[in-house]
């Protein structure tokens, strides 16, 4: 199984706008009705997209329920989970601390979890079986996507980069294996540190990893530098799902996709767009310059 070449981003649906929180809130209001979100999926599909990334947000379950009511989307439009919904946990940890947050999550009967999963998490906590705790955490986060096709499941860059910084390769290896075995999906790794992650995953034995990372002509959020990320792209096997390709609006779409196209190996891109015109222009140019 491979991932789709053109994927729609989800930031506007959850009120995320890295340039302006006010603009983000406006989008949240615009997409308050999940029907409008799913309508946009259809627009994106018509423009060539074959999937959407959806964070593990509270709204996601309603979005996927609506999606599967559309028979075309149900059969031909995949969902790419990005787990966990980090802002929720950052806020929880601020209020309840690390152990308090882990306890609540692992023993939660929130309706998104099931009794077995809750028991696994609880026993894991009591026996300090960290691998069982991680499994429970993943299962808990994934439960809202159980009704849709998920060719790949991405681990949020906040978690990946934390583990990368602490050199906790075992967690990343465990995640890789668990997603493949339990969910028969491709494990994806989000990161803001593409070069470091690429080389690290290679040295840790993860073959041809799927990495989602910023990649754009301005070098925005490309760490440690655009040049280092370009070198890592050339020197490492694997699939890059390029994000931030328009550099938060600083690049016009033609310049953005011309840049990505010149490498020849970038064939997958995620684009956040919330209007028909923007979607059609961006995905059209992506198809042209990436040859997909």
């Amino acid at each position: 199984m491979m991932i789709d070449h053109l994927i729609l981003g989800d930031n506007p649906f959850f009120g995320i706008n890295h340039r302006s929180q006010t603009a983000g809130k406006e989008k949240l209001r615009q997409f308050d009705d999940v029907s409008k979100i799913v309508d946009l999926f259809q627009v994106a599909k018509n423009a060539g997209a074959r999937g959407v990334m959806l964070a593990a947000h509270a709204k996601t379950k309603d979005i996927t329920k609506k999606l599967i009511q559309n028979s075309d989307l149900k059969s031909n439009f995949s969902v790419y989970p990005n787990i966990p919904y980090l802002m929720k946990y950052v806020s929880e940890v601020t209020k309840n601390g690390m152990v308090g947050t882990a306890t609540r999550m692992l023993t939660s009967d929130s309706g998104a979890s099931n009794l077995l999963s809750m028991m696994k998490g609880g026993f894991g906590l009591v026996r300090k079986d960290f691998h069982r705790m991680i499994e429970t955490g993943i299962d808990f986060e994934f439960s809202i996507y159980s009704n849709v096709k998920t060719p790949a499941i991405f681990l949020h860059n906040g978690i990946v980069d934390l583990l990368l910084g602490l050199q906790m390769k075992d967690v990343l290896l465990f995640y890789d294996d668990y997603i493949r075995q339990k969910y028969k999906s491709i494990p994806g790794f989000g990161t803001l540190n593409f070069a470091k992650l690429s080389y690290s995953l290679k040295s840790w034995g993860i073959q041809k990893p799927l990495i989602m990372a910023p990649f754009n002509a301005r070098g925005y959020y490309m760490n440690p530098s655009r040049q280092a990320c370009e070198k890592a792209l050339l020197e490492n096997d694997g699939t890059l799902l390029a994000m931030n390709v328009l550099a938060q609006g600083a690049l016009d779409p033609k310049t953005a996709f011309e840049y990505l196209g010149k490498f020849g190996t970038i064939k997958h891109v995620i684009i956040g767009a919330s209007s028909k015109a923007h979607i059609e222009e961006s995905f059209g140019l992506a198809k042209k310059y990436l040859g997909v």
Binding site: G24, K169, A250
Partner: protein, 322 residues
């Protein structure tokens, strides 16, 4: 350098992971009193040494840098020990729970064998380029003479009562004033200086023991400002800071996302910089790069004890006038 991170909660993890990825740091050691967390670290990276407390770590390791990420009311005690041992220290904000405690830290430092020991307080917003640019705009008088300003900082973190240390009055280490308020007061002091007169008000919305909202009026010689900090504002995805300054020649608006003045406007993404390692925001790494350079070159760092003293003078004045 070998770094000791004391407290492996949210900020401890962030700093440990970032430091572990920066050149001058050869090893990161952890001191964390929760055994479950220590065991988790050992399970997933057995090469990271963990200790039950910082005393044990200091006895067994040669530490070149300490990072204090423990509840605020513990900072004074820990700083005393680290200053006596001459260990450069980064402290998550605020430096301490009150002006008196920060003054004690300053006195301990001045009387220690190394009064120039480097101490940095984690007011990371000072490394966000929009606020740095805002200071330039004000210093160049692009908006003319300042007439007034409004400074706000909001989050939706607290929507019910909680029990953690942030929600206890213990030694006044809890409450939104020292939490979000510390950031905003530091930014206001950075941009406008210390006010001559302060009148504050505090309000409990959900919390039983501490304030959830603080408002204050600041009077300067020729202008005035207002401050509004609340961690219980609905609909805020992540903490928002905004400072609006009205001047005789125009208005400056600056937030953690953008800056807009009559002659200059930019989004944070346009001002963002690539860094050796980015976890949770490039400005956290920039903060570390500056502090590490100051330690290595024996230069005075920003966000030092004297600046914190000024910040706490304002914070205490808000609390005492409420």
């Amino acid at each position: 350098m070998r770094a000791l991170v004391i407290g492996f909660g949210k900020m401890g993890m962030l700093h440990a992971a970032t430091l572990n990825s920066l050149e001058p740091i050869q090893e990161v050691v952890l001191a964390e009193n929760t055994s479950l967390i220590r065991e988790g670290v050992r399970t997933f990276n057995s090469s990271i040494k963990t200790y039950k407390n910082y005393h044990e770590a200091l006895e067994k390791e040669k530490i070149d840098l300490a990072v204090v990420c423990t509840p605020t009311h513990t900072h004074l005690e820990i700083l005393k020990d680290l200053i006596q041992k001459g260990i450069p220290t980064f402290v998550e904000k605020p430096l301490a729970a009150s002006f008196e405690e920060v003054l004690k830290i300053k006195q301990i430092l001045e009387e220690s064998p190394n009064p120039n020991l480097k101490i940095m307080v984690g007011y990371c917003l000072r490394f966000v380029p929009t606020f740095v640019k805002a200071k330039e705009v004000l210093d160049k008088k692009e908006i003319g003479e300042i007439l007034n300003f409004e400074a706000t900082m909001f989050s939706s973190d607290v929507e019910e009562a909680h029990e953690g240390w942030r929600f206890q009055k213990k030694n006044q280490g809890g409450g939104v004033l020292l939490d979000l308020g510390g950031h905003l007061v530091d930014l206001v002091r950075f941009l406008f200086g210390k006010p001559e007169k302060i009148k504050g008000e505090t309000k409990k919305i959900y919390s039983k023991n501490v304030e959830d909202q603080v408002t204050a009026r600041f009077d300067y010689k020729n202008f005035f400002g207002s401050l509004d900090v609340c961690w219980s504002k609905p609909g805020v995805r992540k903490a928002e800071v905004e400072i609006r300054v009205n001047g005789t020649k125009g208005t400056l608006i600056v937030s953690n996302d953008f800056i807009k003045s009559p002659s200059y406007s930019a989004d944070l993404s346009e001002l963002a910089e690539s860094v050796p390692f980015d976890l949770a925001g490039f400005f956290y790494t920039k903060q570390w790069l500056e502090f590490l350079e100051c330690i290595q070159k024996d230069k005075l760092n920003r966000n030092n004890v004297n600046e914190s003293l000024d910040d706490h003078e304002i914070l205490d004045a808000i609390r005492n006038s409420a």
